[in-house]
Amino acid sequence: MNPLELTLGIMTAVGGFVDISELVFAAQAGSSFHYALIWVFAFATVGMMVLGEMSGRVAAIAKQPVFNLMRHRLGLKLGLVTLLASLVSNLITCAAEVGGIAIILHLLTGAGYRLMAVASVVVLIATIWVLPFKWIERAYGLLGLFMIVFAIALVKIDPPWTEIAKGFVPQVPHGLSDKELVTFAYFTVAIISAVLFPYEAYFYSSGAIEEEWGRKDILTNRVTCTVGFALGSLLAISILANAAQLFGPAHIDPQLPGSAALEVALPLGRTGLLLALLGMLFAVAGAAVETCLANAYSVAQFFGWAWGRHKKPWEAPRFTIAWIVLMLVALGIVLAGVDPMKLVEYAILFSILVLPLTYLPLLLLARDRHFMRDHRNGLLANLLGWAFFVVILIAAVAAIPLFILTSGGQT
């Protein structure tokens, strides 16, 4: 295990953890329910660690990414249903990320929202075209580390740390009205969906193939998933705790991503605000790249096309056309005038519906003796994996009724 590679991998995982949905929902969760939803972030992050580790391990040992083996495992019909559902879910998520970038760039420059959406997609396409996979992943992940300013801001405002620590204990706050209880349940489902987005499993396992992982990388995979995701989750929890401390008492509902940046502006001033916006920009841009590539990976792997950004774009032509077209469709959705915050809500809803289809084949593969041999799931991994799968199933069943009852989490 190369310590430099490992450190860079962890830092990339930290910087790349937060995306537009986590930004919005963490701030809203903190403002509406103070620290009572911290445990959901922590719980979902453990799920992401377990399932992320499995997808990296399957890629390293079976030498195939999740989607390649999904069709073999689920069969052509269910595989196609999974492909179509994840395409829709990832496309909406990608559009939400592009909309988020445009909002942040609008805040940074004052230029028009639509113009910034077009400019951001041009830069994203250029980045994916020019840079090889490892550089794409590292560049956005490491620049996303500006998000640490949210943790610094939290330390600066010196919140009630005991209350924050209590937030890690699973709870439903006392004294909520029926309407507030339903909203609390919706936020619980939304946070699970935002942390466990299906594109993350596709991107992570395909990335492992791009970087030619093998048995020697099993430990790197485990450490990156546990330490990297845990530290990344702490950034999301910092956003929630800042919002609880600053927005909650003022009854501010931070529905826009820009609101989250104000959490930093109050204690750290103009420089803090700039760093927060830059961190958000790169974190969300990284997520846009990941969702777009994850979609292209899925299509290419399902149909058996040459794929990967470790190849030159012309060495995998159909894959290249796929990611360019998918990025342009995401831009088209933004330019059509769909409210980016509505896109975030739809992304959350569609993702939770797709999650069971994403993780079922992964759980089946990770315990498969034929593919995984001595690296198949042990008792603990199986137990945790299936326990989280049951949680995901319950969340998926509850998602649509909760979405309707709360009008998409309106508090």
């Binding site: 079976a62 030498k63 195939q64 390649n68 083996l69 069709r71 073999h72 069969g75 052509l76 019909k77 595989g79 196609l80 075209w129 020019v130 840079l131 090889p132 550089w135 299509v299 290419a300 792997q301 399902f302 149909f303 058996g304 096309w305 040459a306 794929w307 030159k312 774009p313 012309w314 995998a316 032509p317 159909r318 290249t320 056309i321 034929h370 593919f371």
Partner: protein
């Protein structure tokens, strides 16, 4: 596993990704062609590769949809061309030798060959 060994065609072969001798992804085992020898057990003669082979495995609307996304090509790869079967099927020659690179080559013409590291 070598193709001469026992293999479960549905659980161990169908829908596996195919790699050529150089490690290039060049398709998926979309169907299998059998030679019915009238009385004796049928023999697998070819792998069918390409979305054109989905007909019969998917409902009509899905075949139509896949045709819009991925076309209707189908290529027959001889059983003897298989080098190894594990989590993928590895062929004993380059994709071009079996006609599995034709579609990629067709699309390659549309991609500029500059600017990438």
């Amino acid at each position: 596993m070598k193709p001469s060994g026992q293999i479960n065609l549905i659980g161990g072969l169908l829908d596996l990704p195919i790699l050529d001798r150089n490690g290039l992804y060049c398709g998926v085992v979309d169907d299998i062609e059998l030679d019915d020898r009238g009385g004796s057990a049928p023999q697998v003669t070819h792998l069918l590769v390409g979305p054109g082979a989905y007909r019969g495995r998917l409902p009509g609307w899905a075949v139509w949809l896949v045709a819009r996304i991925a076309g209707t090509d189908v290529t027959r790869v001889p059983w003897d061309a298989i080098e190894r079967i594990d989590s993928s099927v590895t062929l004993n020659d380059a994709a071009e030798a079996f006609g599995l690179a034709r579609t990629e080559d067709r699309f390659r013409a549309f991609i500029p060959k500059w600017g990438a590291m």
